[in-house]
């Protein structure tokens, strides 16, 4: 498959929501292409008509009785893990 460029890396970094510093872009691009070259060997496999495997248990749609159960963790203990909270809510920076 085609080689990917620095602008491709910037696009993917945006999709992954990871800030990459400018001085790392070159080396990440090189590593990325070497990894892609390595995984591109799957091109050679004849997978025509093969059903994809996304999980190996064969279990489909596990359900439980529709009954309220008490959580083992108190909401305030979970909130205490957040970097910033206010009035029982998680607080974030402005969206726009």
């Amino acid at each position: 498959m085609s080689k990917i460029s620095i602008s491709d890396i910037e696009k993917v970094a945006n999709l992954a929501r990871i800030e990459i510093s400018q001085d790392r872009l070159d080396s990440i691009c090189l590593e990325f292409n070497s990894i892609l070259e390595f995984v591109d060997t799957i091109e050679n496999a004849d997978t025509g008509g093969i059903i994809p495997t996304s999980q190996v248990t064969g279990i489909n749609g596990v359900s439980r009785e529709d009954k309220v159960t008490k959580s083992q963790v108190a909401p305030e203990d979970l909130l205490a893990l957040a970097p910033e909270t206010q009035d029982g809510y998680v607080k974030v920076r402005k969206v726009l």
């Binding site: 990440i28 994809p52 957040a82």
Partner: protein, 476 residues
């Protein structure tokens, strides 16, 4: 003075019951080993000394009152940083979780707790289990007890090194592509990746959810089975957990061995085992799945990683950047500042292979390849009870010697196919590399649900050999 070095679970239990040692002294013995050896091995991230000693005292009270204790009661163990144990720091060896205190316990930890085992320390790993050497820990690398200049393997390198250095009697690890078996092989200990779903993943930090398995690292197949029996089973909190009907094996079993060109090849051919016949020996090429597995794995796993690790966004838990002016910057800068290089690499790779235009060529094709690999492995296992194959081609490598990511990925070449197929595999110590004298591992692989069968075979092999009894001397 009784000798407490390198005890099996059975032996430690007998000593506790007969009063030769107290649980408190047993725990203190292992805590002292950590204090003495950890500055060299650097396996431990957090010690839980006070709580461990308190729990040991409670076991001693029970024994002194003449009450019966279970096999695991009072047995000190360690767990990889992926495992949440309520109230303990759980970092996944990442800076993004540096101050994260687990609000509840993983099912595996809770079950061990209920069985009375005592968690003494949380141990190092590659960050979020991304790696094969424990060099990707955001804190420090761990050293192999057999040769401190070498890696212990990874990603459960802290667990394998802790067991090899006798810092705890067993450890819990996670295995997504070999992360229990490869470090077990490198450190000369026994590591078990059960069938996918046999042990609940609840409360264990996720890497790639359709691959992740939880299992013990210990010094024998016998100890491994004791821990596996305690932690396995259906869990309503993990909808992918499976209630395998775990059968004991039939009397005479037939194995196929795949040669990879290391010392294990000749050792296997010169060895006879009770109830196990190595009926066929073939070059690894004829299994026909190893190279393909590696390529499919390094597409599928980064894809699942990129989706699983979206949760580290600086909002609900974990570290948050101080330098953001809006929510999007909170995401990008938090992840940019606190993820290590390999974690970033895999997130980017996964975002790429899942992105529009590439999904069919990469992700879908790799899932189809996964089907073919699974079918091929099962086809061999229709003909033979188990597959025997070394765990790695080479023994533990030097720290810093695999700086190229692809070279590091290739260390998983003999282990990943078991994860793609979901089948159980145990790595047991089997011989030593001729030039370095370092331990090598042998995998025993069975069909999904054959966990008891491969544990039984591992015990049979360990009855006939003493590779698992050898220990690496640490130069202090």
């Amino acid at each position: 003075m009784v000798d407490l070095n390198y005890l099996s679970i059975d032996a430690a239990h007998d000593m506790l019951v007969s009063g030769k040692v107290t649980a408190e002294d047993l725990v203190k013995f292992h805590l002292d080993k950590i204090k003495k050896l950890n500055p060299k091995v650097r396996s431990v991230i957090t010690i839980d000394e006070k709580s461990a000693i308190d729990k040991a005292k409670a076991v001693d009270t029970k024994i002194s009152e003449g009450k019966q204790i279970g096999l695991l009661e009072g047995i000190p163990y360690t767990a990889k940083e992926m495992f949440m144990a309520k109230g303990t720091k759980t970092t996944a060896a990442s800076k993004i979780l540096e101050d994260f205190i687990a609000p509840y316990s993983a099912t595996a930890i809770r079950k061990l707790d209920e069985a009375g085992a005592i968690l003494i320390a949380k141990v190092n790993q590659d960050e979020f289990a991304h790696g094969g050497s424990t060099e990707n820990s955001a804190y420090h690398p761990t050293h192999n007890p057999w040769d401190l200049d070498r890696v212990p393997g990874g990603s459960s390198g802290g667990s394998a090194a802790a067991v090899a250095a006798d810092m705890g009697i067993f450890s819990l690890g996670t295995d997504t592509g070999g992360s229990i078996r490869q470090p077990a092989a490198f450190c000369g200990v026994t590591g078990f990746k059960p069938s996918y779903g046999a042990v609940s993943r609840y409360g264990v930090i996720s890497m790639a959810s359709s691959f992740d398995c939880i299992g013990p690292i210990s010094r024998s197949a016998k100890d491994t089975e004791i821990v596996f029996d305690a932690i396995s089973g259906l869990d309503p909190r993990d909808s992918t957990s499976v209630d395998y009907k775990l059968d004991k094996p039939k009397e005479q079993l037939k194995a196929i061995y795949y040669e990879v060109g290391n010392e294990v090849d000749s050792l296997i051919n010169n060895q006879n085992f009770n109830h196990l016949e190595v009926a066929s020996t073939k070059p690894i090429k004829e299994l026909g799945v190893t190279e393909e597995s590696l390529a499919a794995y390094y597409i599928l796993v980064p894809s699942e990683i990129s989706s699983n690790l979206e949760r580290y966004d600086g909002v609900r838990y974990g570290a948050r950047t101080q330098n953001s002016s809006n929510l999007n910057e909170t995401y990008t800068k938090t992840r940019g500042e606190f993820f290590g290089p390999e974690v970033k690499r895999r997130n980017l790779l996964g975002a790429y292979t899942l992105s529009a235009g590439y999904y069919d060529a990469y992700y879908k094709k790799a899932m189809q390849l996964r089907t073919m690999i699974k079918n091929r492995v099962n086809e061999v296992l229709d003909e033979y009870d188990v597959i025997l194959v070394p765990t790695t081609i080479e023994p533990a490598f030097k720290i810093g010697s695999k700086a190229d990511p692809v070279e590091m990925y290739k260390t998983d070449v003999l282990t990943v196919f078991a994860n793609l197929a979901g089948v159980p595999s145990i790595s047991i110590p089997f011989g030593f590399d001729e030039s370095s004298g370092l331990p090598l591992g042998l995998q025993i692989i069975g069909k999904q649900g054959d966990d008891k069968k491969i544990l039984e075979i591992a015990k049979t092999i360990q009855d006939a050999t003493d590779y698992h009894k050898k220990v690496g001397e640490i130069k202090l």
